[in-house]
Subunit: 176 residues, 2 copies
DNA sequence: GCTGAAATGTCAATTAC
DNA sequence: GTAATTGACATTTCAGC
């Protein structure tokens, strides 16, 4: 009759309500896996943590639907596609021109050279990671940005000599 | 005998040699696709750019083998896994202690809170993107780092108020 | 002690590689 | 052609009455 005793779902019930994304240990293990390699088969991951392939698929589907998994993407080597130069641009906005931040948002989003952008506290108002082919391209990028948005008072540049760590991996530990 | 006329590989032959990764328009289109969503089927992408599914799979396999595609990963929402606070830490190393950079490299690589790290020019020697649960955790992170490596003269912190753009997408345009 | 919801595992069928 | 994903169904566990 019974072949395998169904394993007890700890707080899985609460997670399925949809509202509160309470992740259990299975979820955390799966998230750790797919953050490193999302091409692993459900069977492979399930065998590693003690779940069937179907259960793994269901959980990943739920995590995608809940927005915990935002996307599954390929990471390229920038140098191999002709964008080997990375820079960190610190943007300072004049005190009286803070509304320009609203205009900056769509511009940064559409700008292919902009890889990441944060609105921050401190010396700069915005920090932008820019990926270009060479310094001339960066110079042109700065010129175009400052011409389009004169409210930008200053751009402080930090040239990346070497990228020591690159990724969007977020640690998924137990909530203690 | 022959059923389907072998499709003309433009500079694919040169690329397949392994040495020179000359990307053609098909490759660039595929890279643009998979950077946004690597779960798209080969058939879907092939139909969009005029290639068979098999051809798409061959090209993607080659791009992975060449290292153009470094990885395929899931991107998580940091807030949904309890790491909603992002900071940019600027590390300054004392002039006489530059060898500490060698010790920093493995430490940053193993530190789960460190998402990205660049060795840069300018005011700071290193810029580090740190992802933590709250400011207390960041304080502890700084304390641990400075205790482990006293050669770090100063850590300048920029707190991320809002992430305007997040990703590792690299534009893949024609070489021109 | 019984009933209902939720999650798992197994199997078959579809799809993609 | 092979492997993996998807959907359907029976079974088990837990919460509530």
């Amino acid at each position: 009759m019974s072949r395998v005793p169904a394993l007890p779902p700890p707080e899985a019930a609460a997670a399925a309500t949809g509202a509160c994304p309470a992740l259990d240990d299975f979820d955390r293990h799966l998230l750790a896996f797919v953050q490193q390699d999302c091409t692993l088969s459900a069977e492979h991951m399930g065998a590693a943590i003690g779940l069937s392939a179907s259960a793994v698929q269901r959980r990943l589907k739920r995590l995608r639907a809940q927005g915990v998994i935002q996307a599954q993407v390929a990471v390229l080597d920038p140098a191999r596609v002709g964008r080997g130069v990375t820079l960190l641009a610190g943007l300072q906005i004049d005190r009286d021109n803070y509304p320009v931040l609203a205009a900056l948002r769509p511009r940064l989003a559409q700008d292919a050279a902009v890889q990441q952008a944060w609105y921050v506290t401190g010396q700069n108002d915005l920090m932008v990671v820019v990926q270009v082919a060479n310094m001339a391209a960066y110079d042109a990028w700065c010129a175009a940005l400052m011409q389009a948005l004169p409210q930008i008072g200053r751009i402080t540049t930090q040239v990346v000599i070497e990228s020591l760590k690159r990724g969007l991996v977020v640690p998924v530990e137990a909530p203690v």
